[in-house]
Amino acid sequence: MVVFLDAVEKALTGKPCSERDYDLKIFSTKLREVVKEYDIKYDPENLVSSDNSLADDIFKAAFDFYCEVGTYCKDTERIIKFDENEIKDRLRNSPSRIVFGEGVDAGTMVPRKPEDRTPPWRFVGAGGVAVSSEDVFMGLVENYAKIPIANSITTPTLTRVNGIRIRPYSPLEILGAIRTVALGREAIRRAGRPGLPIMNSIATADSAIALVAGLHPEYGLRPTDGYMVATLAELKTNFDLLNRACALMSLGLPTAAIFGPIFGGYCGGPEGTAVVTVAYHLMGALVYQAGWFLAFPIHIKHIASSMPELLWVASVYAQAISRNTHLLALYYDYTAAGPCTKMSLYEMAAQYTAAITSGVSMETGGIAKGRREDYLTPVEPRFAAEVAYAAAGMKREDANEIVKNLASKYVDKIADPPIGMKYQECCDTKTGKPSRKCLNIYNGVRKELKDLGLDLSRNEREY
C-alpha cells in the first residue's frame, strides 16, 4: 500500500517537468482527451443528474486522467505519479467512517450514496471566512455551536492580533493560529456543547509552522477534531503543504484534503471541472493520505459556485465519488450574495440540494464569495444545515426541479449580487442573535422552499 513517504519519494524522483508544461501540455491535453473519450457532456436540463452511467463515466475518466497526469510538486518541479493498482489499493483502504467529537457531542461521519436517507454530516460555521476582531469571532462561533443540528464547527479566520494585521510566516500568524484554537474551543464551551469538534483546524494557519504551533494540546485541539491540508490549483502541492500533511499524519489526526478546482481555468468547462474534482479526491487519498475530503469547485470570474454549470458539477462529481468509492466526501459552497439576503439562501439551497441528493455531506462555505471581512451571521449556516438535513433521501429527479427553480431566482443577478450586511449590522453584538430583519428573510425563504417541496421544519425548532 502507498504510504506518505512513497509520495514524498515520488516528489523527489518523479518525472521532471516545468510547471507551464504540466499545465498546458500534460494537464489540459489529457483532460480534453478523457472528456472526449468518455463523451461527458453538461446537461442544463438536468442540473441534478439522474444518470448513473454519466457518474460512473466521470469516475473512470478521472481515474484514467489522474493515472496519467499525477500531482505536480512545485518545489521539486517533478510529477508524483501512481499506477492503477496503487490508486485502487488506496481507495479500498481509505477510512469508511471516522468518529469526531467528544462525549454526547461526538458523531460518526459515514459515506453516503445518491438519494441516501442517511443524514449528511453537517459541518457548519464560517468556512474560514475572515473576521476583523476576536469579539466577532467569539460571537459567531458560540452561535454556530447553538445550531441544534450542527455536527461540527468551522471557525472564521482571524486577520489581526491585538489590532495588528497578520502576515504569513510571521510570529503574528503563529499567535493568530493559537488564538483561533483557544477562542474557538472557549466559544463552543460557552454554547454548552464542549465536545463539539472543530473541523477546519486551524483556519488562521496558512503555513505548516503556524499549524504545528497551534496543535499543542495546551491550546485545546483534540485528536477528535478535524484537520485540513489544502492543494494548489490544479492538482499541485509543495513542501509546505506536504509538511502539514506529514505533521498531522504523524500524530494520527483525521486529515482532510481540500480543493477548489476552477471552472474556466485549466479545468475548462463544466465537464473538465467535474473530472478534475473527482481526480482531486484521488490526489488527497494518495499524496496526503487524507481520510476525508472537501471539494469546492468555483467559477473563475464570479468566485461563486451557484451558477447552473457548477450546480451540475456538484451533482455529478458527488455521484461519481459516492457511487464508486466509500470516501468520506463533503461539498463546500460559495455564494455570490452576502448575508441577510434572499439570494444567498436561494444559492445555498440550490447547491446543497444538488450535492446532498447526489451522495455527499456538507460544510457551509464562503458567503459573499468569502471575500469580505465580517460578512457572516449564524443564520446562513443554520439554514444550509437544515437544507442538507431535509434533502437527504430526496429523489434526484425531484431535486432537479427544485434546484432549477431556485437557480432561476438568482442566475441573472450573479454578476452583480447584493452584498448583504456585516455581522455587526445584522446581529446583536453582545449575544450574536440575528436581527428580526434577518430572521424574516430566513423564515420567508423557508416557506418558499416548503412550497417547492423541501420542508425544513421537520427536524428542529424555530428561532
Binding site: 486577520t159 502576515r167 504569513p168 470570474k301
Partner: protein, 245 residues
C-alpha cells in the same frame, strides 16, 4: 533568391495546392488578408501560424506597427473578450498569449520607437507569503495581450523586489495579487514601503485577488482595483491616461 527562401516558397506552393487547411501561410497574400491571418492565428492559439504570418509580413514589407496594431492586437482583444464571456478557458488564453508574444518577438525589433506601441509597462506578482498564481497569470496574460509590457515576478514576491524591478524597467504600474485574507497585508506593505522611501508618486499601484475589495483598496491607499482581469486592464488604461495627462 537564396536556396532556403526558394525551398520555403516551393513548400508554401505545395501546401497551398495540396493542403488547403494550411493556406494561412500562402504566398501572394494581400495586406488585409495578412492582417486577418495574424489576428485569427492569435485567436486560434496557433503559435506557428503567427510566427509564419509575422515573418511573411516582414518579407512583404508590411509596416510592423500596423501588423501589431491591426493584426496581433486585434486578435488579442478578441481573445480577452472571449475569455471574459468564458467562450474560451485559461489554457486557450495562455496559449494565445504565447502566440501573441512570438509574433511580437519578430515584429517589435523592427520598430525604432517601440515604446510608442506600448500601452504601458507593468510589474506584476503575488505578494510575499502567498503562493497562488492563477489569478496573477490571467492578469499578466491579458495585460500582455492588450499591449502592455509585462514583467511577471511570480509568486511569494518580496516587497523590495517589486520596487526594484519597477524602477529597473521604469514601470507605470505595480500590480499586486493576493488570494488569502492572511496575505493581503502584503499589498499594504508595498504601498507603505513606497511611501516611506519617497517613491509612491512614481508608480500606479493596483491590487486584486480573492479578499481584495474596494474598501480595502481605499484603506491602504492603492490607486486601482478590479474584480476581474479584464476589468483590471480597463482600469489600468484609465489610470495611465489620467497620470499622463
Amino acid at each position: 533568391m537564396s536556396k532556403s527562401r526558394y525551398l520555403t516558397a516551393v513548400s508554401e506552393i505545395i501546401n497551398y495546392w495540396f493542403f488547403p487547411t494550411r493556406r494561412t501561410s500562402v504566398i501572394n497574400m494581400g495586406e488585409e488578408e495578412l492582417l486577418k491571418t495574424l489576428s485569427e492565428s492569435v485567436v486560434a492559439c496557433d503559435r506557428d501560424a503567427v510566427v509564419k504570418a509575422a515573418q511573411q509580413a516582414i518579407e512583404k514589407g508590411l509596416d510592423p506597427v500596423k501588423a501589431i496594431e491591426k493584426g496581433l492586437s486585434k486578435g488579442a482583444i478578441t481573445v480577452g473578450e472571449k475569455f471574459d464571456r468564458l467562450e474560451i478557458f485559461l489554457t486557450d488564453l495562455m496559449m494565445a498569449a504565447d502566440a501573441m508574444k512570438a509574433g511580437l518577438d519578430i515584429l517589435l525589433p523592427l520598430i525604432s520607437e517601440e515604446k510608442v506601441l506600448k500601452k504601458g509597462t507593468v510589474v506584476s506578482g503575488t505578494v510575499k507569503g502567498d503562493i497562488h498564481d492563477i489569478g496573477k497569470n490571467i492578469l499578466s496574460a491579458l495585460f500582455s495581450a492588450n499591449g502592455f509590457e509585462v514583467h511577471d515576478l511570480g509568486v511569494d514576491v518580496s516587497t523590495s523586489k517589486f520596487i526594484e524591478e519597477a524602477e529597473k524597467v521604469r514601470a507605470d504600474i505595480i500590480a499586486l495579487s493576493a488570494l488569502m485574507s492572511s496575505t493581503i497585508g502584503g499589498q499594504k506593505d508595498v504601498i507603505d514601503y513606497l511611501s516611506e522611501t519617497g517613491k509612491r508618486e512614481k508608480f500606479i499601484v493596483m491590487v486584486g485577488g480573492g479578499p481584495t475589495t474596494r474598501e480595502w483598496t481605499e484603506e491602504i491607499g492603492a490607486d486601482g482595483y478590479a474584480e476581474t482581469a479584464m476589468e483590471a486592464v480597463k482600469v489600468a488604461l484609465e489610470l495611465i491616461e489620467k497620470k499622463r495627462s
